[in-house]
Amino acid sequence: MRAAAYPAFALTAFQSRLVYRNQVWASAFGDLVSIFARIAIWTAAFAGATQVDGITLPEMVTYSVLAWPLLYWDFSRVLYDVGGAVQTGDVAVFLLKPIHYPSYLLSTHFGHFAFECVTIVVPVALIVGFTVGLLPPASLFHGLMFFAYWAVSWLTLFALACLCGLLAFWLLTAFSLEWFLMAIMSLFSGAVVPLWFLPAPLAALFGYLPFAWVSYYPSAVYLGKLDPAATWLHLGIGLVWLGLLSAATLALWAKARTRLVVQGG
């Protein structure tokens, strides 16, 4: 199949979501409530202090919006999509078509992500920006590098979700895998509490695990908490992790595919 088909999958996914308008309004409202809650939590935690560990409250507000709805997007759709397809054997349909299944998934879920971004994250960010205020990137360099980190973050979370989805083929339950991944992400990714507020040994440990590249590092780069040298270095480490996760995902996919073909589903 031609490469041009893959953007079409993304567009189809985007359009398919427009039908569920109540879902859009409800998700946007639910996220708005959550984000104001997080802002309130940080305000309470700072308790009037101008800065804690060199971090200001406005920086934490910006961190909250970046780290959670934008970077730590709802991966369960990917996980159940993959998990369901391999568990039921429906994935065999894709093996019959001239489609590269991982690329198909990637484009479809990018479409879903773009939809959630446009309809939910951007409006929520605008409301927060006008009411509480959001900070611009620390510098032009950090702003540009944020996009590179964002790409690594998105693909890392996508690969993690696919990996867990594929594991459902052997463990026979996508549900538990979703919760395992949630457990890992809520502690290690920095989506809830950034690494700079953690005890030093924990922060050092979490800082080397790939999950921190989903929420923590991109947000920290945006806020200018990494100097240029560290920014380049961590981008490199993030890419290595991404490469390893992608290789693991593709290897697991190859294994599942062989099992599907040999055993006939």
């Binding site: 359009q15 427009l18 039908v19 308008r21 859009v24």
Partner: protein
Amino acid sequence: MAIIAASGVEKIFRQPKRQAGLGGAIRGLFSREFTEVRAVDGISFAIEPGEAVGYLGPNGAGKSTMIKMMTGILVPSSGTVEVLGREPHTNRLTNAAEIGVVFGQRSQLWWDLPVRDSFDLNRHIYDVPAPRFAENLARLTAMLDMEGYVDRPVRQLSLGQRMRAEIAMALLHDPKILFLDEPTIGLDVVAKDTVRKFLAEVNRDRGTTIILTTHDLVDIEQICPRLIMVDDGKLLFDGELKHLRQTLGSRRRLKLEFGTDPGPITLQTAALVTDEGLAKHFLLENEQTSILDVLTELGSGHDLTDIKLEEPNIEEVIRTFYQNKPALAGARP
């Protein structure tokens, strides 16, 4: 007294309009228009105890909606429905205890458990005394030939086996009326036949009133002496099946094949429609005409190799109906 009486029943649904294209979909995020769909439109009939009635019509004709109103699931928009002398939706629980309902496409069995567990749960739900339950279970198991699989999980059963179990389950509490929504849909020929024979027997021997919806005319021929036909929410016909054929003039087709072309043939008992030389197609004018009558008239001396008699199929009946709608109003006296 009628066991079921419907009078001037209407049911109107409100459905959102879908707009086409990306622009339409985005507009749909902000506003939505609705259309009113009149699924049941002024239907009246009365059914006596012990009758077996087929409720026939194409998809979307309002068959299921009518069943749902009779079983108390839906409330009519206007008009009245009475089942066993009660309004079903206001007396839903009392009504439910005295009827049995089978949905052809929606299983009521517990998918992961043996059939017997679903039956047993129904015993408690319908509060059936243990001896009567045991007796009914034994009888139904034998009649529907279920001995082989009542202890197997439902997920392992074929569609035909499952449907037999569904029907048995609906009868375990000796309902006075049995409603079946498309009970033969998707079944193979053998399974269809078993279900039809069984339902006819239940109606005949136990006197259970049967209302079934279908779009398969054979269901009606074999189970239901009476037919109610609807289309587009409106009642088209209410009466006996053979009466329908007469009224409709939807005639049976006869195909005669010859070894050598006998030349043109004209008959009193059947009208020639197409002549392909070796194969000739006729329409039988009269419901009473048999093949024997035609052959007698045709006489010997022809090199006749094959005879085929085709009943008019449902599509044909309905098509004829569309054309004759006004003429049929009040077909049942």
